[in-house]
C-alpha cells in the first residue's frame, strides 16, 4: 500500500519545522513543582514520541512524493508527449525549482521527439503546443519562471524556439526577470546569455524560422517580435547596461554594445521608450541618499550615465521624434521626482504628470517644479517647458539640479528665493546670447547651470554645497558641455 498519495512539499516542510519547534518549546517549559511533574512528563513523552515516529516519515514523504510524482509525469510525457503531461504539472505539489527543472526536461523531450525521433503531434498540428502550456504554467509561478529562465539561459532556443504564442514568451521573460521576482544577479544570469545569443548567434532565425505557419496565426517555435519584447524586459535593468555592468559580470563595453544593438532595432527601441512604467520601477528602486542622509554620488552618476547612454543610442535609432520627446519628458518627470524625494504611485505612461501634480511636496520643491514647468501654474504655463534647454543632456541636467535645489529649499538649507538667480541662456546670464560662443545653446545652458551652482553654493554650508556639486557633476560634467556642442 502506498503510504502517501500526495504532499505539498512547502506545507509538509512547514509541518516538519513546526514539529521540531514544538519539541523544543515543550522542553523549555519547566517547573520544579512536583505537582506539575506528571502533567509535564505526559506531554513531553507525547511530543517526543511524535517526533520519533513522524519526522522520518515526513522526510521520507518529502523525498518519495516528489520523486514519484515527477516519474509519473515523465512517464506520461514519454508515452503520450509533453503536451499530454503538461496538465499534470498544475496539480502536482512540487516546489518552484522542481517545477522549473521538470519544464526544462519536458521541453527537451518535446524538441527531441518520440523514441523514434518523430515530431510530437502538437508540433505538426495547429493550436497550442506543449511549450505554450508549460510557459503559461510558469507565468503563474514567478519564482519558477525565474528559475526556468536561469536554467535555459545558456540554451535560449528552448525559450525562443518552442511556443506557438510568442506573447507567452514575452510574458515569461517579463515575469521571470522582473525586479519583483528576480534578484539583480539572477536577472543578469538570464539576460546576458540571451542577449549574447540573440545578438551573435541566432538573430537571423527570428525572421526566417523554417516552421509552418498555421492558418490561425502563429507557428511552433517562432518568435518574430523578439525586438518588441526586449525593450520592456531590459527597461528595469538599464543601470546594468551602464555603470553597474559589473552587477551582471559583463564589461561596460559589452553592456553598451548590447544596448546599442537593441537600439538599432526600431521596434526594440520603441518598446524601451514606451516602457516608462518599468523605468519608474528602476528609479524608484534607486536611492539617491545614503542611510546617513548624505547624497549618494555613485547612484546619481549611475543614472546620469545611463541617461547619457540612452541619448546616444537613441540618436542612432530611427524613432519618431514625438516618441523620443515623450520619453525624455517622462524621464525628466521621474528624475525630478526621484531627486526631490517624492514618493509617487506607480503609474502608466499617461498618468505621471498628473501624479506629480497631486503629490505632497514642500513649497521649495513645488517652486522648483514650477520653474521647470513640471507643475504648471498660470505664471509658468509653458507647453514646451520641459524641452527648452537645447538638448536632452542639458534638459536632464537642469531637471536634476533644479529638483535638488527645491529639495534643499524644503530642507531649509537654501533660501526660498535662490531659484530667482537661475538664468538659463537669457540676457544677463553667465553665457547670454551676446557672448561669443552662442552657437551652442545647450552648452550655454550647462555653463549657466555651473555658474548658478557656484553662486548659490558660495553662500551656503559645505554639506549643501557638496550636494549641489554632486548633482551638477553627475548630470552636467564639464565633458558633457563639450559633448553637447
Amino acid at each position: 500500500m502506498t503510504a502517501f498519495f500526495g504532499a505539498d512539499p512547502t506545507l509538509l516542510g512547514a509541518l516538519r519545522a513546526a514539529l521540531v519547534r514544538s519539541v523544543g518549546d515543550l522542553r523549555r517549559l519547566h517547573s520544579d513543582d512536583p505537582e506539575a511533574a506528571d502533567a509535564m512528563q505526559t506531554v513531553r513523552r507525547g511530543i517526543e514520541l511524535l517526533e520519533l515516529r513522524w519526522l522520518p516519515k515526513i522526510d521520507h514523504a518529502l523525498r518519495l512524493d516528489t520523486a514519484a510524482a515527477v516519474r509519473q509525469v515523465e512517464a506520461v510525457a514519454a508515452a503520450s508527449g509533453p503536451l499530454a503531461a503538461a496538465p499534470l504539472l498544475s496539480s502536482l505539489r512540487i516546489d518552484d525549482q522542481q517545477l522549473a527543472a521538470l519544464c526544462v526536461r519536458l521541453l527537451l523531450l518535446w524538441h527531441a521527439g518520440d523514441e523514434r525521433g518523430n515530431r510530437w503531434p502538437d508540433e505538426v498540428e495547429p493550436g497550442p503546443n506543449a511549450a505554450d502550456a508549460l510557459f503559461a504554467l510558469l507565468i503563474d509561478r514567478p519564482r519558477a519562471a525565474s528559475t526556468f529562465l536561469g536554467l535555459t539561459a545558456e540554451q535560449p532556443g528552448i525559450l525562443f524556439r518552442s511556443a506557438v504564442d510568442e506573447t507567452l514568451v514575452h510574458r515569461l521573460l517579463l515575469v521571470g526577470t522582473s525586479p519583483r521576482h528576480a534578484t539583480t544577479a539572477e536577472a543578469g544570469r538570464i539576460l546576458v546569455p540571451i542577449l549574447d545569443w540573440l545578438q551573435y548567434d541566432e538573430r537571423a532565425y527570428l525572421h526566417g524560422w523554417h516552421g509552418t505557419t498555421w492558418p490561425g496565426g502563429g507557428r511552433d517555435g517562432s518568435t518574430p517580435h523578439v525586438g518588441t519584447m526586449l525593450g520592456d524586459v531590459i527597461a528595469p535593468w538599464l543601470l546594468q547596461f551602464g555603470n553597474r555592468a559589473d552587477d551582471w559580470g559583463w564589461s561596460r563595453e559589452e553592456a553598451d554594445d548590447s544596448l546599442r544593438w537593441i537600439a538599432r532595432d526600431d521596434v526594440s527601441m520603441a518598446a524601451l521608450v514606451g516602457a516608462i512604467g518599468q523605468w519608474q520601477q528602476m528609479l524608484a528602486a534607486t536611492r539617491f541618499t545614503t542611510p546617513d542622509g548624505s547624497l549618494d554620488f555613485d547612484a546619481l552618476l549611475d543614472v546620469s550615465t545611463t541617461l547619457a547612454q540612452l541619448a546616444s543610442a537613441m540618436r542612432e535609432a530611427d524613432i519618431k521624434a514625438a516618441e523620443v520627446r515623450r520619453f525624455w519628458l517622462d524621464c525628466s518627470l521621474l528624475l525630478a521626482s526621484a531627486i526631490a524625494g517624492l514618493a509617487l504611485p506607480m503609474v502608466g505612461v499617461t498618468g505621471l504628470a498628473a501624479a506629480i501634480g497631486t503629490a505632497a511636496m514642500g513649497a521649495g520643491t513645488r517652486a522648483a517644479f514650477d520653474h521647470l514647468g513640471i507643475v504648471r501654474t498660470a505664471e509658468h504655463a509653458d507647453d514646451a517647458a520641459q524641452a527648452r534647454f537645447g538638448t536632452f543632456t542639458a534638459n536632464t541636467a537642469v531637471v536634476a539640479v533644479v529638483s535638488m535645489v527645491g529639495r534643499l529649499i524644503d530642507e531649509g538649507r537654501l533660501p526660498p528665493d535662490c531659484l530667482d538667480r537661475l538664468q538659463l541662456g537669457k540676457p544677463g546670464s553667465a553665457t547670454s546670447p551676446d557672448d561669443d560662443d552662442d552657437d551652442c545653446p545647450a552648452g550655454e545652458v550647462l555653463a549657466d547651470l555651473h555658474h548658478f551652482v557656484g553662486e548659490v553654493g558660495a553662500d551656503t554650508d559645505p554639506a549643501t554645497r557638496s550636494a549641489l556639486a554632486a548633482v551638477l557633476l553627475a548630470f552636467a560634467h564639464p565633458t558633457s558641455i563639450t559633448d553637447a556642442c
Binding site: 506545507l11 513546526a18 514544538s22 515543550l26 517547573s31 505526559t42 515516529r53
Partner: protein, 89 residues
C-alpha cells in the same frame, strides 16, 4: 487584622505558577500542530494517522492544562484551610 499562614502564601504562589504553566502549554505551537497536517498538506493513510496523533497531542495538552488547574485548585484550598487554622489560633 487578617491573619495569614506563611505556608498558605507559598501554596497560592505554587497554584498561580501551575495555572501559568497550564496556559503556556496551550499557547505552544504543539497545541496547534494538527492544523498544519490537514489533507491540503499531505494525504493518504499515513497522513491521516499523523493527523489523528497530532489531534490526540492537542487533547493531551488540554488534559494536562486541566490537570494542572485541578492541582492548583487543591493548593488554593489547602492555603485557605491553613489560613483558617491560623485565624482560629
Amino acid at each position: 487584622m487578617v491573619v495569614h499562614d506563611p505556608a498558605a502564601a507559598l501554596l497560592r504562589t505554587r497554584a498561580r505558577n501551575l495555572r501559568r504553566l497550564g496556559t503556556a502549554l496551550l499557547e505552544t505551537q504543539a497545541a496547534r500542530l494538527h492544523r498544519r497536517s490537514g489533507p491540503e498538506v499531505w494525504s493518504g493513510p499515513a497522513a491521516a494517522t499523523c493527523l489523528d496523533e497530532l489531534q490526540l497531542l492537542g487533547r493531551r495538552l488540554a488534559d494536562a492544562r486541566d490537570d494542572l488547574e485541578r492541582r492548583a485548585i487543591r493548593l488554593d484550598e489547602q492555603a485557605a484551610r491553613l489560613d483558617a487554622i491560623a485565624r482560629m489560633a
